[in-house]
Symmetry: C2
């Protein structure tokens, strides 16, 4: 049994002084800017943008290149989007928790004009947008959960490449296998 | 008429001290590590890997996040792959030029064991791999050319977003239009 997690932890640690090492890119029209949560990767998104393509195809890739250590991590996995109308109480709880964990500034973004629409100059700003901090997530707020089932690790310095593949294990814990492949 | 190129030049300049600003990620299973050539983006690839998906779908995205200036560039465009059997003499010339512009170390990678295949330990390394520096590109060497037709620019500091769209102009030069959209 082998896991890519210690590898990632060591890499992140050795690149910790670089601000950009906490950023990564999710294929399929989404860029993420959250520190990675090992095992599950969570991202908050706005329902009004970006999710159509994901809803069509629930698979994604996250690619990560660490410039200092010349390492690349490429995650393939499934994407779950938890919207306001989800029927799973546990998932809705996760969404609510993520909402309260985000800053007021970040919460206010979900009340801003619809992303990607042409900007309209408003002369009369009308009412100020207000948000009751005790209220739960707004409707357009979604929680995206990325669950990797393959990790492709490349070390360009040592010219080594490892592929980690997960196997369902009956329980919720995944069993990871690794194999050395040609870079 | 508006162009995203001056914007990109200024951003690259202000982020030039950061090593990682020269790296970017091409969606669809390829990571690039070349400084961007404005107008056309070129990348050398190995025919034995990565190109199947691109050959199937000749569109791609390049996403670029500059951590220092909080700017994001997202390019959408078409991908052309120039393989050894291409019938266009001009394209083959570009491929040859790219081969001779790359280092010997980089050229030797195309003679290495097939990427992504399980690594086999060899006790007898046999002959040393040799390459005649005067000879042209090896068969598996391909040149990938990415030609953007939409650029989505986001400045997270000023909270501004611009979308640049190209229009065919009869000539080979593209005409770019820009519009301010909601971030």
């Amino acid at each position: 049994m082998a896991s890519w997690k210690p590898l990632l932890l060591i890499s992140l640690d050795s690149n910790a002084h670089l601000k950009h090492s906490a950023f990564f890119q999710l294929g399929r029209d989404l860029s993420l800017s959250l520190p990675v949560i090992l095992i599950l990767i969570q991202q908050l998104i706005d329902r009004r943008q970006s999710i159509e393509e994901i809803q069509h195809c629930r698979f994604g890739e996250i690619c990560w290149y660490l410039t200092e250590s010349w390492e690349q991590f490429r995650f393939k996995g499934s994407i779950d989007i938890i919207v306001a109308t989800n029927s799973d109480a546990l998932k809705l709880q996760k969404r609510e928790k993520a909402w309260f964990a985000s800053s007021l500034k970040s919460q206010l973004q979900y009340l801003a004009p619809t992303p990607s629409f042409p900007t309209i100059a408003i002369n009369d700003p009308g009412e100020e947008i207000e948000l009751d901090p005790s209220e739960g997530p707004v409707d357009v707020f979604c929680l995206l959960i990325f669950d990797p089932d393959q990790v492709d690790y490349l070390n360009s310095r040592s010219n080594e490449r490892l592929i980690f593949t997960s196997k369902p294990n009956g329980s919720s814990r995944k069993l990871w296998m690794s194999q050395q492949i040609n870079p």
